[in-house]
Symmetry: C2
Subunit: 378 residues, 2 copies
């Protein structure tokens, strides 16, 4: 396969202004507080395109990259209706006539995608082979076969294959929890429990959402978030599935799994996760997503989206250790993922997320899915 001439040298030439601008940004570790923020008004540092807009997550993906210093140049979607709405939302982006037009545009550094889930890995491989970095909506990889190919091409091309695990990277409370853990507030982490309930709203879902080959199964689809958080909070670089289950308990009319859970174990701790499509109508958010991090000296509970019959809004962090039991503010947390990803694209670094972590989270979710016992009640 032909490789594009995209390399670090041409990259720097293409983004000279941006690269200069970058120099004023100090190296900032993940999730630090009070770091300088590159506003929308700064000169863009990279140019990016979008291919595939089949999930609404694409909007926040694009916004994250723009916030981080990306110029949204062009997009392609094969669905005219989706394309029209998207063009309206992002008028600055040109509508490309084909995927190839974007792949062959040497000025583009990054391709962002929320294509149908099983099409993301093959697309990402093409993107990397064209010398560009790739940012996929989660799940970014659906099967072990896909993962093998993606890992191989990523290694060959040295491009970035990023997956936006938004339940951590775009959630201020979870980032604050990460800071607390890093500061030693709860000692050494022993276990994480992640709950990821979601509202189904079946009529609003496209057909591919109910086709397992296309969406991957509930653990691959949703629990990849919990796998990411488990690895991150326990600091695990190796992990295995202890046990996992999936089932369809209340939606026999659909080809779907409405429940899934898994016990996992890594070299830094253990974890449990449960995901489901049972968010009740009365809840004011898509899901009462929770994360509990148990440490040797305390624990943290994150109520990401809602504090039931309690405080307004989302981003609730509760810290309990030997010294104090307290509510921790997190609305002041800066979401740095977009900026760090753009830094990484420019500097060929891994500050937003290591490639290995990104793949391992996907792998763990896929293995949980593959090994899951179906417990659908008869």
């Amino acid at each position: 396969m032909k490789r594009s001439g995209f390399n670090r040298r041409s990259f720097i030439r293409n983004t000279a202004t941006a690269a200069a601008g970058m120099l004023i940004v100090p190296s900032i570790s993940h999730g630090s507080i009070g770091a300088p923020f590159i506003s929308r008004n700064m000169k863009p540092r990279i140019r990016f395109s979008v291919i595939g807009i089949n999930h609404g997550h694409i909007n926040s993906q694009v916004e994250t990259v723009i916030e981080g210093g990306g110029e949204f140049v062009s997009f392609y979607a094969k669905e005219p209706d989706l394309s029209a709405a998207f063009a309206k939302r992002f008028p600055q982006a040109k509508v490309a006539r084909s995927i190839e037009e974007i792949l062959n545009d040497k000025s583009i550094h990054l391709v962002v995608s929320a294509a149908i889930a099983n099409e993301r890995a093959p697309l990402g491989i093409e993107v990397m082979r064209h010398g560009k970095d790739f940012l996929a909506d989660k799940p970014g990889v659906l099967t072990l076969d896909q993962l093998k190919d993606v890992r191989k091409v990523q290694k060959e091309t040295k491009r970035i294959y990023a997956i936006l695990y938004g339940e951590r990277l775009e959630n201020k409370a979870t980032i604050r929890a990460g800071e607390l853990v890093k500061q030693g507030a709860i000692g050494k982490v022993i276990q994480t429990i992640g709950l990821g309930p979601h509202r189904l709203n079946a009529p609003s879902r496209p057909a591919w959402f109910f086709n397992k080959k296309q969406y991957g199964g509930i653990l691959v689809d949703i629990a990849t978030h919990q796998c990411d958080q488990f690895l991150f909070f326990t600091g695990s670089t190796k992990a295995e599935v202890v046990a996992s289950q999936v089932g369809n308990f209340n939606h026999p009319q659909y080809e779907m799994e409405d429940f899934g859970d898994a016990m996992v174990k890594g070299d830094g701790g253990t974890g449990y996760m449960r995901v489901d499509w049972f968010t009740p109508d009365s809840l004011k958010t898509f899901g009462d997503t929770r994360l509990t991090v148990l440490g040797t000296e305390g624990y943290i509970e994150v109520r990401k989206n809602v504090d039931l019959a309690g405080r307004e809004g989302g981003n609730h962090v509760f810290l309990v250790n030997n010294k104090e039991t307290r509510y921790v503010e997190s609305n002041d947390v800066e979401l740095t993922y977009g900026r760090l990803l753009v830094d990484d694209i420019i500097n060929r670094t891994e500050t937003a997320m290591t490639q290995e972590h990104c793949f391992l989270a996907a792998e763990l979710a896929i293995r949980a899915q593959d090994q899951a016992k179906n417990i659908t009640s008869k």
Copy 2:
């Protein structure tokens, strides 16, 4: 082995007054609201003794039975220091000279025990063989061998072998949650998640607490509560362990497990439980015990002992279904276990808890313990 002459006929004769009193008490199903309450001042309906006071739970066990209509007659403990303190707390009870004195006292209907955990089953067997009913602190049975013997003798003698699973039976919020589920507030139950953290306070613990043969392991010891709740809320009458783990992550100086978790599955739903000895010093309770019940039409979260940085006290119930998201009061719940147990002792019924449920909860915890993978980090 010699059986005592204790039977329903002599029982009724011995408790004639109480039995008459009983007639004014309507049959009340578990956990119903606003039922009449038999006060401490009513004439006692049964006579009971205590054998073994090695765990402080004995105090609430005794109080529960007194509240339910029991007259606390006598007790025996082999430890003079424990005995002296207990006699001070319950001056109405005579100090027996031996276990046999209590076993051979035909006026005694029930023996209550919080002996060292591995001594409860053998004691309970003797108690049943002497024609009396038995109420053990949890864990009421430590091994499958013990359980086999207890089941056999219970069947032969038709005595009650009760275990006080206090995290449900003595927790108003959990009882309220049970009522809500029974009323159909969350549809059909799919899963329970039970978290049972405890404060260690190692210096306050007796030696047997650190001897696995005597305390049984963390899943047998603590998670028996979560097994009871899993079976109760899912309505399961059969259950198996999917996976389980135990570990000692931060107390290498003790022979103990400070962490344990398990995935279980029953014929009425699935469950996850985690127990640990990591309650931090700052928390105003022994543990932030939680129960989450997921149903097809909603979910309930019970924060049993504390609402972190929130409402005062314990017994917090949160209900989320398609109609509403609300905090549910539970401080008005009547704790009926003691009364129902005394009813059962008199009427030879199973209204407080079925014998099979009692044993199955113990069995599930024992199987989880036996199958647990030790994940103590090196």
